[in-house]
């Protein structure tokens, strides 16, 4: 009998980069469906435009860098970046906003740093932040969700939407303040008053019409990825937990100073998209489980702080970028204990006097 000696690892995982990326793409579908259902076809157009731009930019830069184009395009990582940015952008934003955002995401944040695996910052979030600070007007106009529309208003159909994206048509008729904006500008109303008066809240149950279901849909997609073991639970759970704890601490029993309930923070803005699709990015987050807990908690705290005391429409992108800065530092202090050793070694040994 011939025994073939093979060294470890003995368990082979079928996960390839392309496979993981395809599963992530699949998991964004519920969120995309919910966004389309509540806000009309704007997000769908964003995603398609972003995907086209991603493929063109990625192929061009790879060609210029003399790398195999088809090989790298096939891993779908550019498409994941494109879909995430497309989901994050406001529906019906002009086409050039999407293109500029993808340029910064793919060319500047990803390829200039060396391509997939070398980027210190999440490309989709870099694209988003560049757009947010460059085009504040376009980036802060969110469509009104179905249900919160005033009488006589309706969501644009596909042709109207295309006219808005590619033409100069005005979006004012469709846009309104998001739940986060509404809460920030509540002007001394208690939460109960706000929930019973503002149309964006009366049309919803927990955190504003449409938004809550979009977030629940992203949560479902995230749960699927967790079940498929694409990422571990540490970072998203830590982010949601720290966000929730801070929200409870500053809930102030729903007074006019309240920063919103935990449910409100979990189910509004980009919380769930961030928790399950951005914070879990294997390239730009911390690598050990303990590190991921710290990383996720940091994102959660920053999201709450920027949402409550900042002036931007949402905080996930800034929070993620700030924690991306910190990820190597977190890794340095959270080197896991190696089996058979007592203490985790430092990444670089300290000099003994």
């Amino acid at each position: 009998m011939a025994f073939i000696r093979v060294s470890s690892p003995h368990a082979h995982s079928a996960n390839t980069t392309a496979g993981v990326m395809r599963q992530v793409l699949l998991a964004t579908l519920p969120g995309l469906a919910a966004l389309t259902a509540y806000f009309g076809p704007g997000t769908l157009i964003n995603v398609i435009l972003a995907c086209l731009a991603a493929v063109v930019f990625e192929a061009t830069v790879l060609k210029m860098r003399q790398r195999p184009v088809v090989f790298y395009l096939r891993d779908c990582s550019a498409l994941v970046t494109a879909v995430l940015l497309g989901l994050a952008l406001p529906p019906y934003c002009p086409w050039w906003v999407v293109i500029v955002g993808m340029f910064f995401a793919i060319v500047v944040a990803k390829q200039l740093y060396g391509g997939l695996g070398y980027n210190p910052f999440n490309p989709a979030m870099v694209g988003y932040v560049v757009l947010l600070i460059s085009f504040p007007l376009e980036m802060s106009q969110w469509a009104t969700p179905r249900g919160a529309l005033a009488d006589g208003q309706s969501l644009p159909n596909l042709m109207d939407a295309l006219a808005k994206v590619f033409g100069e048509a005005d979006i004012d008729g469709y846009s309104s303040a998001t739940p986060l904006d509404t809460l920030r500008q509540s002007g001394g109303q208690t939460l109960n008053d706000l929930y019973s008066s503002a149309p964006i809240f009366t049309s919803g149950r927990w955190a504003g019409g449409g938004w809550e279901w979009v977030n629940i849909a992203f949560l479902l997609g995230g749960a699927y990825l967790l079940y498929k073991k694409v990422f571990t639970w540490h970072a998203p759970v830590a982010m949601l937990a720290s966000l929730g704890i801070l929200a409870i601490a500053l809930y102030d029993s729903g007074s006019s100073n309240s920063a919103g309930s935990p449910i409100f923070h979990w189910l509004s803005g980009a919380t769930m998209l961030g928790a399950f699709f951005i914070v879990t990015d294997p390239v730009t987050s911390a690598v050990s489980n303990k590190g991921r807990l710290i990383y996720g908690a940091g994102v959660g705290i920053l999201v709450f702080v920027i949402r409550t005391w900042g002036n931007y429409p949402d905080a996930v992108a800034f929070a993620v970028l700030l924690m991306n800065f910190a990820a190597p530092f977190i890794d340095y202090y959270t080197v896991p204990r190696t089996y058979g050793h007592n203490k985790a070694p430092r990444a670089t040994a300290k000099k003994t006097e």
Partner: protein, 238 residues
């Protein structure tokens, strides 16, 4: 060093050892005031004047100052020239002086100036030292201008806007609207991140050009026929 070639000094300052792109000195004004061409030009000229003047003065006193106290002495000289420049700008370009604000007095702390004073002027005679200060200043000015132009064009869609702050009323009409009147501006280029991006891209561009030149020179050298080519044989074959 009486044989110092002026051509070499110019080449060092403008390209090979450019303060902005190679030495990466004086990044604070380089990144902070390059939001428009006029700001960049104003600060660039001021820095160049201080650099040339302080290099001359340092070179003149180089044999009279002992090594131990040379740096304080250099800083005093640089501060004196900076004050002169500041007063001149206050007198002739008051609006620009107000726009540039703290960055004019901060020329004192610009590492390019102290660096050239210590590395070049204190070891060379006055004429080459002045030349070096002038060329280093020009190199710095050119980088400031390049970054300022790119950021102004991308960020606000104009070129040479507000030049009357520096050149008087006739320059009011110099403004060019590169992308037409309706360009709304790409704010990130005007904001600090834009300065870092543009500076980084310029450095990359310089490295690419250098690599091309190197390749070109290498190709030319290998083409030259080698006279008397012989095959050398030894007893050992590695």
């Amino acid at each position: 060093m009486s044989q110092t070639s002026y051509r070499e000094i110019a080449l060092q300052g403008l390209w090979k050892n450019n303060p902005g792109l190679v030495q990466l000195l004086g990044l604070c004004p380089l990144l902070a005031v390059t939001g428009s061409v006029v700001n960049a030009l104003g600060l660039g000229i001021a820095t160049m004047l201080v650099l040339a003047g302080s290099n001359l003065a340092v070179s003149l006193i180089r044999n009279a100052v002992s090594d131990a106290v040379r740096l304080p002495a250099f800083v005093m000289i640089i501060a004196a020239f900076t004050t002169c420049t500041e007063l001149l700008m206050q007198a002739f370009t008051f609006e620009l002086y107000q726009i540039l604000g703290i960055f004019i007095p901060l020329i004192v702390t610009n590492c390019v100036i102290l660096g050239r004073a210590d590395a070049f002027a204190s070891k060379n005679s006055p004429l080459p030292a002045t030349m070096d200060g002038f060329m280093m200043g020009s190199g710095f000015l050119l980088v400031l201008l390049a970054i300022g132009s790119i950021r102004e064009i991308i960020g606000s869609g104009t070129f040479l806007a507000n030049m009357h702050l520096l050149f008087g009323e006739t320059a009011r009409g110099w403004q060019v609207n590169v992308f037409g009147e309706n360009y709304r501006g790409f704010l990130v280029a005007i904001l600090p991140p834009g300065a870092f991006l543009v500076a980084g891209l310029l450095i990359a561009l310089k490295n690419i050009i250098d690599a091309r030149i190197q390749k070109h020179l290498a190709a030319r050298q290998s083409q030259e026929p080698k006279a008397n080519r012989r095959v050398r044989t030894t007893g050992q074959i590695a």
